[in-house]
Each structure stands twice: as C-alpha cells, then as structure tokens.
Amino acid sequence: MNYNWNWSIFFEPSPEGVGTYADMLLSGLVWTIATALSSWVIAFCLGSVVGVMRTLPSKAAQAIGTAYVELFRNIPLLVQMFLWYFVAPELLPEKLGSAIKQLPNAPFYTAVVCLGLFTAARVAEQVRAGILALPRGQRMAATALGLTVAQSYRYVLLPNAYRIILPPLTSEFLNNLKNTSVALTIGLLELTARARAMQEFSFQVFEAFTAATVLYIAINLVVIVAATLLERAVAVPGTR
C-alpha cells in the first residue's frame, strides 16, 4: 500500500478561493443538518397526520393513509428525488414550473420536500404502531368519558403513543439525516458531496472520507444523547 497520507490537507486553502478544505467540509455539515432538520419538520407533522388517519374509524381515512405509505415506501428515494427535481416542475403550469427552477438553492428546497414526504411515510408507520400498541381500553375509556375522537387522540392516545415510539422515531430521524446524502445527486452541497469534491480537488481520498465519517458519527452521537435526555424528560413519573 503506497498511499501518501497528508493530514495537513485540511488546513490548505480549497480551490474555491475562500477558506480551507476544513471550512468546505464544515459548510457541507451545515447543509446536511439544515436539510435534515427542515425535512424532519415536514416528516413529523405529515407523518403524524397520516399515521393517525390509518387508525381512525373512517374507512376512507384509512385507505388514504395506507395509499400514502405504500406509494412513498415502494419507490426508491433516489427516484423520488429525481421526480421532484426534474419531473415535477415540468408537470406544473409552465410559469410556476420555471419559477421553481430558478429559485436560489432549488436543490435544498427540493431535497427538503422530497425527504420530508419520504420520511413522513416511515414516521406514519411508527405513529400507527404506537397507537395500536396501546391497550384497547384507553380508547374505550376516552369514549366513555365523553371525549370526541379528536379529543381522545389529543389527550389520551397520542401523548402515550409518542412516548412509546420515541426510540424508533430517533432512528427514523437518523435515517433521515443519512438520507440527506442522496440529495448530492441533485446538486445539494451537503457533507458527502463536499467530501467527494475535496477528494476530486486534492486527490486525498481517504483523508476526505475519514473526516466525513467522523463528522457523521459525531452527529449520530449528539442525536442519540439528545434523544436519551428527551426520553428522560418526557417520561411519565412512576412508569419506570
């Protein structure tokens, strides 16, 4: 193995003119985190709605929820990314389509929408599983107390369900974070894309990828610690 290691490469100026290679990777990290957080907002809200729909008494709501989940789970993320980036603007009315194409940071907005809708299907499955894991008596008790369906979800079912599914939701959040790297195919300059660019400019393949690997592991650890703290903070006293 004769590979020329050069760890000081990170402090050399990048060919982009501003900053070093380290700055380049860190700007990628910022885009990764921004994309992950923004898409998670969509995923969490929409996923909760779809997950609840799948447990409602109404057959129509169940069918819509199931259709959503099946549609978004059975198409690869990369294909969905291309559909939103290349196909969706063409199918919209011409003016709106070209306005979208000319947006600054179009890859970012596309990636946020695409990941949000993709992850929402996964969140919906978790929310549904959480609600179904509750004893049936809880729903009955809520009805017996005279709560409407909406009230029983708001005050009885969802507060319990979210606590149950916190660990799987954490891993969905991490999946969402990792999936942001797929957006490099539509030109989002996130962490993996920046590591790849650094490799192409500097030819220091393994330094670039090692740095990206370390950064991904670091965010993972931060998220896991935060999730553990959150789990402790919201635990119902006396349940464990």
């Binding site: 294909v79 559909l83 991904y216």
Partner: protein, 230 residues
Amino acid sequence: MFSNFDFGVIASSLPYLFGQGMVFTVTLTALAAAMGVVFGTLIAMMRLSGIPGISHLAKGYVELMRSLPLVLVIFWFYFLVPYIGAWATRSPTPIQVGAFSSALITFTLFEAAFFSEIMRAGIQSIPKGQTAAAQALGMTYWQTMATVVLPQAFRNMLPLLLTQTIVLFQDTSLVYVLSLTDFLGAASKVAQRDGRLVEMYLFAAVVYFAVCFTASFLVRRLHSRVAIIR
C-alpha cells in the same frame, strides 16, 4: 400536462432498460442479499459469542455501518477496494476492480450489518433450553448452530430478511453515483440522451413501485403462512 407525453421513447428503450438495467439491478440485489445474509449471520454469531474482543468488534462494525449514509459507504469502498486488493495480492500498485465487483462488495458488506441485526434477533428468539438440550446431547457449538438454532432462526426471520432485501433492491439505485447502468442508471441515460426526463423517470418510478409493492404483498402473505403459532 401530458399532451406531449412520448410513450415511444419508453417502448423503444425497453430492451435496454430491462435487458441491461434490470438484469444488473436484480443480479446485484440477489448476490448482495445472499452474501449479506451469510456475512450477517456470522457477524450476529460473533456478536452473541460473548468473547470480549470478538463481540465488540462485531458491534463496532454494525454501529459504524448503521451510522454512515450508504452513498458515503459506496464512495469509500469504490476507492478503498483497489488498495485492499493490492494489499491482499501484495501488488505494489492499486489493482483494477470492476465497477460491478466494487458495488457488489459494498452492498454485501453494508447490508451484512443490517442482516446481522435481524439474525441476532432471530438467534435470540430461539429458547435457551434448545441450545442447552443440544449441548447435553454432546453437540459442538457449530453442530448446535447448524442443525438446531440457525434453521429455526432463518424460518422465524424469513419475512424480515425478505423485507430487508426489498429495501436493498431500492438501495441499489444509488449505484447511480458511480455512473453504473442499473435500472435507474439506464433510464437516466436514455432520459438525458433523448431529453425525455419526465417520461423515463416516471416510468422508472412505476416499475420500481410495481416490483416492490408486489414483493412486499407476497412477503406479507408468506409471513402469515410461516408464522409459528405460539
């Protein structure tokens, strides 16, 4: 909206899309899944072995693979495999590895981490008494595993293993980042050659959906048939 939708471009590229693209995707999925399950089972056995160094090594490997994005892992192996090959064959220069072999190694090793988690649950689902009984009969560790534990673990976990294989089938589309001609890569090449992005990407989505939806429906049916009533 669909007024200038051109079905001709899809029809004329069908032999290319399926003859090359889909064959590549299916071959990669099948080989990576088969080898991934074998490696995954070995990793799960290492992790459950209780031998300090070995179980930590397995745990570290699984955690590492699970915390990295697949795209980054694809890039890692694409550049790393030639060097590992050179080291293994004592060659002074990095060896040439075909794009398909590189992708196959990547997906096998990456998916092995996920299969190992499934197999770990499968092995743990077998009551301890069975292992104890096998040992009481004088069976060695490998005999116990091969004839008592693993056959049942595979049976119990078959639906999950197949579901993970469907995920793998979708994930193979990411070889796009290496410009390989899998199904999506083929669709993308035709799309860019003919300027027909809308038709080709929508068609690719429909095909992936049809395959994955059918496969997961069949897995659900299988699940209800093989489920052991306890």
